[in-house]
C-alpha cells in the first residue's frame, strides 16, 4: 500500500510556464509593518476572450524602513507593478501589463487583492484591484486594454481593503461589488509586538472596521450602500469573502472571514438589506465557541447534498473551520468529522478552493499555507513560516491528505483555480511572498468531466450567483472566494466514469433550465433561456 501510494501519480505538479516571471514584492522590513505579510492576490480570467485563461497578479510595493508618511510604495517602479500575463497557445505567457494599460497602479497604494467580474455586461471581464490605499477599477475595453474608471465609478473606497468580489445581490442583472476591509491601520499607528521576538502584531491590536457594499447603478457608476444595506452595521476584520445562496431563497448571501473574531454571515433579506446571522446560524465561531483567525474562505458544497458549505482557513491550533450546511439556514461545525481538523491543526491557511482535482465527482480541497510571522520558528519551532500547500482529496465527504505536487515549502498567500490548459482538469496558481507564483498543473487522468460556461441574458452576463447541478453535484457560480483572489468563472465538474450528464441551472433571474444527455469532456456554454 505504501509503495503503491509512493508510486501513484501526483494529482498536481508544479510547473514553471515560460514567460511568467513575476515576483511578489512584499518588502519585509525590520519595522514589521503588518501590510508586508498580507499580500497578494491572483486572478485567472480570459481577458481577451481567446479561450485561454490569463493570469493577473497583484504586487505589494516597496516599503521604506522606517516608513515615510505618506508612503509612496514606489508603484511607478516596474518592479512593483501589478502584472497581467496573456496565455499563448503553447502554454507560455507574455507580460502584457504595459500594453493593457495596467502599469503603474499609482503611488500611495500597496497592493492586496483582485476581483473579476463583467460589471457592464459587455462580455469582457473587468478587474477590481484592492489596496492599502485607494482601490482601482479597471474597465476592460475589449481590445486588449483596460481603463482606470475608479473615479467615475466611485469605488475607490480607502483604508485597508483585502478580498473583494462581484455578485448580484438584488438580481437586477448587474454585478454589485463587495469589498472587505481588514482593520483601521495606518503607517502612523503601526507597531510591533511579541516583545523580544519583535513580530507582526495580532489583529486585536488595531480597531475593527466596516466592509463596503457598492450597488451597480448600471450606468458605469456604483453607489456605496454599506450603511443602507446594514453591512456597515457590523465592524469586522475582514480578509476573505465568498458568496452563495445558503438558505435557498434565490438571493445571494455573503460570508466574510474575519481575523481574530467571529465570522460574519450576511443574510440577504431581498429588500436591499442584509442581516448578520452567523451566531444564530452556527457559522460564527469554532465548535467550542472560540473566535477564529479567519483568512480565506470557500462557500461551495463539499458533500454533494446540494447545499453550499463554508470552509474557513485559519492559524495553527485553531483547525480550519468546516461549517456544514444543514438546511433551514443552519450550519454545524464539522472540522473533526471531515478529517480536516487533523490535517490543519499545525498550519496557517490562506487561499482556499474546493475543486474536483481528480474528477471523481467529489470536490477536493486545496489550501495555500504559511505562517503570518516570518520568525515564527524562533517563537514556536513546531510552526513554520514556509509550508507546503494542503491538497486533500475528498472521499465521500471526508478529506485525506495527498501529495500537493511540490516538496518546497513557501510562504503562500493567494490562490486561484481554473483550467489553464483546457484539458478538463483543474489547475491552481498560488502566490508566494517575495517569490514567484507557483503554478500547479493537473496531469490528467482517466475520469470524465464537464465545464459549464454560463451566459446570462436576464441575469448578469456571466451568470454569477447561479446554482448549477450536474449529476448530483452542485456548484455556485462565482469568481470570488479564496483569499485576495479570483478564479475561473467556468464551472468545472468531475464526472467519474459517467460519459453523459444532466445539467440543472437555477439562474439568479429565477429562470430554471435543464439539459439532459449532455456529452462529457467538453466546455459547454449555456445561454440563459429567455423565459422560465
Amino acid at each position: 500500500m505504501v509503495l503503491a501510494a509512493a508510486l501513484a501519480t501526483p494529482v498536481l505538479e508544479v510547473k514553471h510556464p515560460a514567460g511568467l516571471n513575476f515576483t511578489l514584492q512584499n518588502s519585509p522590513t525590520s519595522r514589521k509593518y503588518l501590510i508586508e505579510t498580507m499580500p497578494g492576490g491572483v486572478a485567472l480570467l480570459d481577458y481577451n476572450n481567446d479561450g485561454l485563461l490569463d493570469i493577473f497578479l497583484v504586487n505589494g510595493g516597496r516599503v521604506t524602513s522606517s516608513m515615510e508618511i505618506p508612503e509612496t510604495f514606489d508603484r511607478s517602479d516596474p518592479l512593483n507593478w501589478n502584472r497581467l500575463y496573456r496565455q499563448n497557445k503553447d502554454g507560455s505567457f507574455t507580460d502584457v501589463t504595459k500594453e493593457a494599460g495596467l502599469a503603474n497602479p499609482g503611488d500611495g497604494n500597496y497592493g492586496m487583492g483582485v476581483a473579476v467580474g463583467d460589471y457592464d455586461n459587455d462580455g469582457y471581464p473587468d478587474l477590481y484591484v484592492t489596496n492599502y490605499g485607494k482601490n482601482i477599477l479597471y474597465h476592460n475595453n475589449g481590445d486588449g486594454t483596460f481603463t482606470d474608471v475608479t473615479a467615475k465609478a466611485g469605488v475607490a473606497a480607502g483604508g485597508w481593503s483585502a478580498s473583494a468580489g462581484f455578485f448580484d445581490y438584488d438580481n437586477d442583472g448587474k454585478l454589485d461589488l463587495f469589498v472587505t476591509r481588514y482593520m483601521e491601520w495606518d503607517t502612523k499607528h503601526s507597531k510591533t509586538c511579541g516583545g523580544e521576538w519583535h513580530t507582526y502584531c495580532p489583529p486585536e491590536e488595531f480597531p475593527a472596521t466596516t466592509s463596503i457594499l457598492f450597488h451597480n447603478r448600471g450606468d458605469g457608476t456604483f453607489e456605496d450602500v454599506s450603511q443602507r444595506s446594514g453591512v456597515a452595521a457590523k465592524k469586522g476584520r475582514g480578509l476573505g469573502v465568498a458568496f452563495a445562496d445558503y438558505d435557498d431563497d434565490g438571493l445571494t448571501d455573503i460570508f466574510v472571514a474575519n481575523d481574530g473574531m467571529q465570522q460574519f454571515l450576511f443574510h440577504n433579506n431581498g429588500n436591499g438589506t442584509f442581516t448578520e446571522r452567523s451566531l444564530d446560524a452556527g457559522a460564527a465561531l469554532s465548535e467550542d465557541g472560540r473566535r477564529l483567525s479567519g483568512m480565506g474562505v470557500v462557500f461551495q458544497d463539499y458533500d454533494n447534498d446540494g447545499r453550499p458549505d463554508i470552509i474557513v482557513t485559519e492559524l495553527p491550533r485553531e483547525i480550519y473551520g468546516v461549517y456544514h450546511n444543514e438546511g433551514k439556514g443552519l450550519f454545524s461545525y464539522q472540522s473533526l468529522e471531515t478529517g480536516l481538523g487533523m490535517l490543519s491543526s499545525g498550519s496557517s491557511g490562506w487561499g482556499v478552493g474546493l475543486e474536483d482535482f481528480d474528477n471523481d465527482g467529489w470536490k477536493d480541497l486545496f489550501v495555500a499555507q504559511g505562517h503570518v510571522l516570518d520568525n515564527v520558528e524562533q517563537i514556536d519551532p513546531s510552526l513554520h513560516y514556509r509550508e507546503l500547500p494542503l491538497l486533500a482529496l475528498n472521499r465521500g465527504g471526508r478529506f485525506e491528505r495527498t501529495d500537493p505536487g511540490t516538496g518546497s515549502p513557501v510562504a503562500a498567500r493567494g490562490a486561484a483555480f481554473g483550467d489553464l490548459n483546457n484539458d478538463g482538469w483543474q489547475d491552481v496558481v498560488m502566490t508566494v511572498l517575495g517569490e514567484q507564483p507557483q503554478v500547479f498543473v493537473n496531469p490528467r487522468g482517466k475520469q470524465h468531466w464537464l465545464a459549464v460556461k454560463l451566459r446570462g441574458t436576464r441575469s448578469n452576463r456571466d451568470g454569477l450567483g447561479a446554482r448549477v447541478r450536474v449529476n448530483g453535484q452542485t456548484r455556485f457560480a462565482t469568481t470570488a472566494g479564496s483569499y485576495l483572489s479570483a478564479s475561473d468563472k467556468r464551472l468545472h465538474f468531475g464526472l467519474g466514469a459517467a460519459q453523459a450528464a444532466r445539467i440543472e441551472i437555477a439562474w439568479p433571474s429565477g429562470v430554471r433550465q435543464t439539459l439532459n444527455d449532455v456529452h462529457a469532456d467538453q466546455f459547454l456554454e449555456v445561454v440563459e433561456a429567455e423565459k422560465p
Binding site: G282, L285, D288, R290, E314, P316, E326, L336, G346, P381
Partner: protein
C-alpha cells in the same frame, strides 16, 4: 516605647518623655537627640540604648542604630527587644548572617526566615517562613519570601540532582520540566524521551510528554504517549481524559468516548472531562448524552469559559434538533458570558 522604665532622675525622665513625644509625632531627629542625652545621663542602663537604636531605625538610619543596640546587649545580653532591633538593622544593611543569631534569640520567625533566605540557608528559611505565613497568611511580603525561598530550595535540589547524577532519569525529567515551563518544547521533548528510555516506569512521564505533543497539535504522538500513561496508571483520571481528548481530536470518536467515560468514572464531575464527553457523544449522534454532559458542566462549574462553551454547544445541539427557543436561550447565556469575559481566543501564534 515598649520598655518599662524605672529611674529616679527627673532630668532623665524629662528627656525620655520628650524623646517619646517626638517619636510619636514622627520627629525622629529630635527623638534621637533626646534619647542620646538619656544614654549620656545613664550610660549603664541598657534600655536607653535600645530606645536610641529604635529611634535610629524609625529614621531609616540602620547604620546609626547598630552601635547603641550593640551597647545595649553588652549591658544586658538577654534583652530580646535589643536582639530583634539589631537583627533588623543588620539585615537591612545586608549583614544577613550576622543578623541571624539575634533574630533567633528574638524568636522572630519572619525576619529570621528572610535573613536565612538572604544568607542562602534555604531549608531553614523555608521552615521559618512557612511558620510565619501560617501565622500571617495574608501578608504579601511573607508570601513572596516564602515562595522565593521554596523556589530556590527546589532549584538547589534539582541543581544538585543534575550535577551529581546527570545521566539519571530524574535529572532528565527535571530538565524536561524546566524546558516545558520555559516553552522550549523541542528540548523538553528530547529530555522527556531520554527519561523514558532510562525510566519508562516513572509515573507521569508519558503524560508530560503527551502534553508536549498535544500543545503542538501532534495528536497521533500525543495519543501514543497518553496511552502509555494509562497503561502505567490505569487509575489516573487525567491520563484517561488526555487520551480521550487526543482521540477526539483525531476523529476517533468511539474510542474517545470510551476513554472519556472511563475518566469520568475515575473522577466524576471533572468539567473538562464532561465537556469533551459531551462533544464525543454529540459526534456519535447521541444528543441526549451530550445534553446531559454539557448540562452537568454548567451545574458543576458555574462560571468559567467552559460554561460559556457548554452553553454554546447546547445552542448548537438544540438548533440541530429544531428546538429554536432552547437554542436561543442557550445562545443568550453564551452571549451574556461572552460579554462578561470575551470568549477564549484560539491559541494564536
Amino acid at each position: 516605647m515598649f520598655l518599662a522604665w524605672q529611674t529616679s532622675s527627673p532630668e532623665v525622665l524629662t528627656h525620655l518623655q520628650a524623646g517619646a513625644e517626638a517619636e510619636k509625632n514622627g520627629h525622629f531627629e529630635t527623638a534621637i537627640s533626646e534619647f542620646r542625652k538619656v544614654t549620656e545621663l545613664e550610660p549603664a542602663v541598657a534600655t536607653g540604648f535600645v530606645s536610641l537604636g529604635q529611634a535610629y531605625l524609625e529614621n531609616h538610619d540602620y547604620a546609626g542604630a547598630i552601635a547603641p543596640l550593640k551597647q545595649a546587649l553588652r549591658l544586658s545580653s538577654g534583652l530580646r527587644p535589643a536582639h530583634q532591633l539589631l537583627g533588623y538593622a543588620l539585615l537591612a544593611q545586608g549583614y544577613a548572617t550576622e543578623a541571624i543569631p539575634h533574630l533567633e534569640k528574638a524568636q522572630d520567625t519572619a525576619a529570621l526566615g528572610i535573613a536565612q533566605l538572604e544568607a542562602g540557608q534555604l531549608s531553614d528559611a523555608v521552615a521559618n517562613l512557612q511558620a510565619a505565613v501560617s501565622k500571617h497568611p495574608n501578608d504579601p511580603d511573607l508570601l513572596y519570601y516564602f515562595g522565593r525561598a521554596s523556589g530556590l530550595l527546589s532549584k538547589q535540589s534539582i541543581d544538585t540532582l543534575i550535577a551529581a547524577y546527570p545521566d539519571s532519569g530524574r535529572a532528565h525529567q527535571a530538565m524536561a520540566e524546566n524546558y516545558y515551563v520555559l516553552r522550549q518544547m523541542p528540548q523538553a521533548e528530547k529530555e522527556f524521551q531520554a527519561t523514558i528510555r532510562l525510566r519508562p516506569d516513572l509515573p507521569n512521564i508519558h503524560l508530560e510528554l503527551g502534553l508536549v505533543y498535544a500543545g503542538a497539535s501532534q495528536w497521533p504522538r500525543a495519543e501514543e504517549a497518553f496511552r502509555a500513561e494509562t497503561k502505567l496508571q490505569p487509575g489516573s483520571a487525567e491520563a484517561a481524559y488526555r487520551l480521550g481528548n487526543a482521540l477526539l481530536q483525531q476523529g476517533k470518536v468511539r474510542e474517545a468516548r470510551a476513554e472519556l467515560t472511563r475518566a469520568d468514572k475515575l473522577q466524576p464531575e471533572m468539567p473538562e472531562t464532561l465537556y469533551s464527553l459531551g462533544k464525543a457523544a454529540s459526534l456519535e449522534g447521541d444528543a441526549l448524552s451530550a445534553e446531559h454532559a454539557w448540562r452537568k458542566v454548567i451545574e458543576v462549574e458555574k462560571e468559567s469559559s467552559l460554561v460559556a462553551q457548554a452553553h454554546f454547544a447546547l445552542a448548537g445541539l438544540y438548533r440541530k434538533q429544531g428546538k429554536s427557543e432552547e437554542a436561543e436561550r442557550e445562545m443568550a447565556e453564551f452571549k451574556k458570558l461572552q460579554n462578561a469575559a470575551p470568549p477564549p481566543e484560539g491559541p494564536q501564534n
